[in-house]
């Protein structure tokens, strides 16, 4: 009988908390849906640049499912530029006798797709001349590059984002539920001072966390790092600041720690899908724009550019500016959200 009473009480609690109820039902479906979008996409069509490649071979490549852009021998530089801008996965040149293949190389799965397709094409084109091996080179990375090198930078960004989001969200929430926010608001402390104080206080802690994670991944785990460690640190910290300001903002919409946790599938999980951990090229085009509103996709993009492609400021500045912009907007919204508790 006591057990029954407990069961009924729990069911009643759920019933009173409609949002938890909805979350338990809707969230798993939402995530399953997203995963279906990611994993049921079309098979990846490698994007090839063909420099002075004979037309029949181009046709064969296309038959195998490649997206081929043709260039004349004179346009070779243009093709290379497209490669370094990650518009192409590989450039094939036939101008000097033996075929030369240069791979973009930062994503091992794409490199494999290109090589597999080439192999199939060459075999079907000249089954007797199986001995012809194209010379393969890599713009970034190498054959030895592990899949982890590719998604490692994204994971750094993700973990920093996730933990800072949760920690700052819950602690700001505690401020509210514990009554200390009320007490703060009975002091001459201004609303923006509370927000900035939080950002700075956690910012210092976050600085430490970001530095530790970045060092651990590159130094201890041996994650590929071609570019500057300081850029990695800068991007990681900006990501953390964005997570921090978003976490405190979101906590205004939660009434307890449990409800804060519920924001993970809404705010964090979708970002994983759009962060570049999964190949976005196989995702339906109309869904890709969602990545534009997700801070993690900028952070992950910049981290990858620095760590794998050795990019400098000219390539990451836009991501950096966008992340800083996100933090600023979230902070301002935070100040506004505090109006709910004190008007002045």
């Amino acid at each position: 009988m006591r057990i029954r009473a407990v069961v009924i009480r729990i069911l009643r609690q759920f019933f009173h908390d409609k949002r938890t109820l909805a979350m338990m039902l809707v969230a798993p479906m939402l995530i399953l849906y997203m995963m279906s979008l990611v994993f049921n996409g079309d098979t990846y069509a490698p994007k090839l640049g063909a420099v002075a490649v004979p037309a029949p071979l181009v046709q064969k490549l296309e038959q195998q499912g490649a997206e081929v852009t043709t260039y004349s021998a004179a346009q070779a530089d243009e093709a290379r530029q497209q490669l370094s801008d990650v518009k192409l996965d590989a450039v094939i040149r036939f101008d000097a006798g033996a075929p030369q293949v240069e791979l973009e190389g930062s994503d091992p799965s794409k490199s494999k797709a290109v090589l597999f397709l080439l192999q199939k094409t060459l075999q079907s084109a000249a089954p007797t001349a199986a001995g012809i091996q194209p010379a393969i080179s890599y713009l970034h990375g190498s054959e030895d590059m592990a899949a982890f090198d590719n998604f490692g930078p994204v994971l750094i960004g993700f973990f920093v984002f996730f933990f800072v989001f949760l920690l700052s969200g819950v602690s700001f929430l505690r401020e509210r539920t514990g009554g200390t926010l009320e007490r703060l608001l009975a002091t001459p402390l201004r609303r923006w001072e509370i927000v900035v104080g939080y950002i700075l206080g956690f910012g210092i802690f976050t600085l430490l966390q970001a530095a530790l994670i970045a060092w651990f991944a590159t130094g201890a785990l041996g994650l590929m790092l071609v570019g500057s460690f300081w850029y990695v640190l800068l991007i990681t910290i900006l990501l953390a600041l964005t997570a921090l300001s978003l976490g405190t903002l979101i906590s205004a919409f939660a009434n307890n720690e449990f409800q804060m946790i519920q924001f993970i599938p809404l705010v964090i999980v979708p970002q994983i899908f759009f962060s570049g951990l999964f190949n976005m090229d196989t995702m339906s085009v109309y869904l890709r724009w969602l990545g534009v509103i997700m801070p993690l996709s900028y952070g992950a993009d910049a981290l990858r550019n620095v760590m794998i492609r050795g990019a400098g400021w000219e390539r990451i500045w836009l991501d950096v500016v966008v992340l800083a912009g996100f933090s600023l907007v979230f902070m301002l919204l935070n100040v506004v959200a505090l109006r709910k508790h004190r008007k002045i």
Binding site: G178, G179, T180, E182, R183, L184, L185, A186, T187, P188, L189, R190, H341, R342, K343, I344
Partner: protein, 242 residues
Amino acid sequence: MTQTASIDIRNVSKQFGSKVVLHDITLQVEPAQIYGLLGPSGSGKTTLVRMIAGIDEPTSGTVHVLEQRMPQLAMLTKIGYMAQSDALYGELTALENLEFFAALFGLSGSRRKRRIEEVMSLVNLTDHLKKPAASYSGGMKRRLSLAISLLHEPSVLILDEPTVGIDPVLRKAIWAELMQLCARGTTILVTTHVMDEADKCHRLGMIRDGRLTATGTPEELKRATGSATIEEAFLYYGGVGQ
């Protein structure tokens, strides 16, 4: 009613959505008085008190503290507010809690140190300064919370049920101190359920369902209701006797 009331509330109403929490409340608290606000739970005491503390604002009507229209940020340095919840950072020690709030009120250096010592000896917690607030007992937390609200020597002190969970001996000590603060010119507004505390107030206001049902000195209220004790008067105004 004089113009110089420390707390001057005129025709204050408060609505949350369509729910009216306070109806047309008018009351004045004279300087250096202890004013007791009595009423059952949910009568609107806390809502009224939060408006005086400058955290909330009335839907209609005005609240003046020390002749300044509230809410006003600059006035918050002159008001001490202790809410019903203890509002302490459990992870921090008592001293760290005190230092934090002292800093928010702009106390620094030797003045901060002196005030922390003064308020902690007042609430009899000097020996427990270095302990984390989370390890305090319920009564100790309440005392620490009171100590924090006294840090900046406010001219107007607002205490929302200050003596809940405090034993009679300490309660007496706290009231003795409130009397002393009052004698030195501090205006004190206190909400309470404890009837012998109500007797110690200079004036009382009875709140029920968001309406001020009676005001006066404890003697006046007892006489008006023909009661021997404040408790009877409270029950009378609280609706039980009607």
